[in-house]
């Protein structure tokens, strides 16, 4: 599905022979190159600036790690960082659990309202974040839930859920039914079959789903802005409050660290999905 670009790029590689462009090939490469350059230029500038000695930010004053140093001495930032990690770990784990079960149910069970369930997941994924954000805030206040860790957790699980479902579901769709039949023919009972065939087959997708959920949780600003409480400040909101008031070199440093962390997670999840 459209919102899961990672799957997409992997599953849609065509098998039919493709013509490569001959005429205008240089122009084509130039165009692609330009777009990629534009996509990566801001990131590059941010990373370079994070090592900049100069306080003003725009002038290069020599290489320095001082913004990283001041980052590690900033207690509010460190607290927010740990809060985000804890939230991400729990949200990713729960959403992976529910999401995997959902994918299994959608793939293997026939039940009434399956279309509606599919539709709910689809709409949940397509909804603008801000719509989801205020609807969850309305719910939490209606049921009298104290805004803080629990409200953040419930919200994060909810927006991660569809991403996990389609990641695992895509893997299940490509699963060869004959594998399961073979296991059964060879005398495996249900639990053995699930343990020895089904779980090993979907495990990479489950892990990839977990990593994506963790990344989404770590990066979310919109939903968290609404459902957060004063007792539990998370990193993206800490950063948001810093960048609103101006340029902060510390943000370059934490931004660079976050970029590196996200890239590592995405690359691991891609490798997991690619392995057959």
């Amino acid at each position: 599905m459209s919102n899961n670009p990672l799957n997409h790029s992997l599953s849609s590689a065509p098998t039919k022979p493709k013509r490569t462009i001959k005429i205008g090939s240089i122009a084509a490469k130039g165009y692609l190159g330009l777009i990629y350059a534009l996509l990566y230029l801001p990131i590059l500038v941010l990373v370079v600036m994070s090592f900049n000695q100069s306080k003003i930010g725009y002038n290069w004053g020599g290489f320095s790690l001082k913004w990283y140093e001041s980052l590690f001495n900033n207690q509010a930032m460190l607290d927010a960082f740990w809060h985000s990690i804890v939230l991400g770990l729990v949200a990713a784990t729960v959403s992976t659990l529910i999401g995997t079960l959902t994918a299994l149910a959608l793939h293997r069970y026939k039940f009434r309202g399956k279309g509606l369930l599919n539709g709910l997941l689809f709409v949940l994924m397509m909804s603008p974040e801000i719509v989801l954000a205020i609807s969850l805030l309305a719910l939490f206040l209606l049921i009298g839930l104290q805004l803080g860790f629990v409200s953040l957790l419930l919200a994060h699980i909810t927006f991660c859920l569809p991403f996990v479902v389609i990641t695992v579901f895509a893997r299940l769709s490509s699963l060869d039914e004959r594998l399961l039949e073979a296991a059964r023919d060879l005398g495996a009972n249900e639990s053995t079959m699930v343990r020895t065939v089904l779980i090993p087959v979907i495990l990479p997708a489950v892990m990839a789903g977990w990593l994506l959920a963790f990344t989404l949780s770590l990066d979310d600003v919109v939903v968290s802005t609404f459902v957060t409480g004063p007792s539990y400040e998370i990193l993206p909101l800490r950063i948001y409050s810093m960048v609103r008031v101006g340029l902060k070199p510390e943000v370059n440093a934490i931004g660079t660290l976050l970029l590196v962390a996200s890239l590592v997670l995405v690359i691991i999840s891609q490798l997991l999905l690619r392995r057959r």
């Binding site: 065509p14 719509v131 990066d219 950063i239």
Partner: protein, 292 residues
């Protein structure tokens, strides 16, 4: 497939279905119903909302004060969508025509930034756009301008920021429809005497319309909601619908009004989803997953 594995009437099945339905009904369906309900209530300073039921919030959106912000937000989001489409359409086509073994890498490079913190990337743009930022410095250095031009806190900065963040979402569905576009269709069209232009308008464009619509869906609506982009790059005069919703909910505490704005966004999403379905039916696809 479903019949024999994992048991069709097992407690496991029952528990799983209860869990999923429970979660989605409580955290996806119910909250949306609540927002619709809230949008028809009256704001109240102590309890956020109160009776009587009214359509006052919807009427108030026509108030010039807000209406202008809505129009301006829609304008910026639309321009963003058009730019993403104009840049993304050839981009997706070129990627789909690249050597097959390069395509996963090219797509991967496109979406890598998507998985990195969008707030941080918005902030990175600020480093480029500032008066003494990279763009102004480069332009000054090569002598195109004599004095720094204002980029930050303009409408253009917001549009550039939204385009930067949302571009991959336009390309993904377009790439999917282009890889589905069969070469023999194009050859058939040319064999039947159609020119390149005719082939584009009568074959390529209709067949890629579902991709265009889902790209628009994935860019236009988020572009109206990403309040932090307007906050960081746009200053106080370039607000998005998202800023209004946030402001009404978190600062002004006028819930019904914020909810009404959100209902409008949801309606816009519904319209686009229906258009998408209609266009993919027309080319013989009924499943969202096939194209989206």
């Amino acid at each position: 497939m479903a019949r024999n594995s994992l048991g069709s009437k097992s407690p496991f099945r029952t528990a799983t279905l209860w869990l999923i339905w429970g979660w989605l009904l409580i955290f996806a369906l119910l909250p949306n119903i609540l927002v619709i309900a809230v949008s028809f209530l009256t704001p109240d300073s102590s309890a956020f909302i109160s009776l009587p039921v009214s359509i006052d919030s919807y009427v108030r959106m026509l108030d010039p004060l807000y209406f202008e912000v809505f129009v301006h937000s829609l304008w910026m989001a639309s321009i963003t969508t058009v730019i993403c489409l104009l840049l993304g359409y050839p981009f997706a086509w070129l990627v789909s025509k690249a050597k097959v073994r390069w395509q996963p890498l090219l797509m991967m490079l496109l979406i890598l930034p998507f998985w990195t913190n969008s707030l941080v990337r918005t902030y990175a743009l600020k480093l480029l756009f500032a008066n003494n930022g990279l763009i102004n410095k480069s332009l000054l250095a090569i002598g195109v301008i004599d004095a720094p031009i204002d980029i930050l806190y303009t409408q253009g900065a917001v549009i550039a920021g939204l385009t930067y963040l949302l571009f991959p979402f336009m390309v993904l569905p377009l790439y999917a429809v282009f890889t589905d576009l069969r070469n023999d269709m194009l050859l058939a069209s040319q064999d039947l005497g159609a020119s390149k232009t005719q082939t584009f308008w009568h074959v390529v464009l209709p067949l890629t319309t579902p991709g265009i619509i889902s790209g628009v869906l994935l860019v236009l609506l988020p572009a109206m909601g990403m309040f932090y982009v307007a906050d960081i790059l746009g200053g106080s005069r370039n607000l998005l619908v998202g800023n209004i919703i946030k402001n009404q909910f978190l600062d002004a505490r006028d819930w019904p009004f914020g909810a009404a704005a959100s209902v409008l966004l949801t309606l816009a999403m519904a319209v686009l989803l229906l258009a998408y379905r209609a266009s993919s039916r027309r080319i013989g696809k009924t499943d969202f997953n096939e194209v989206a």
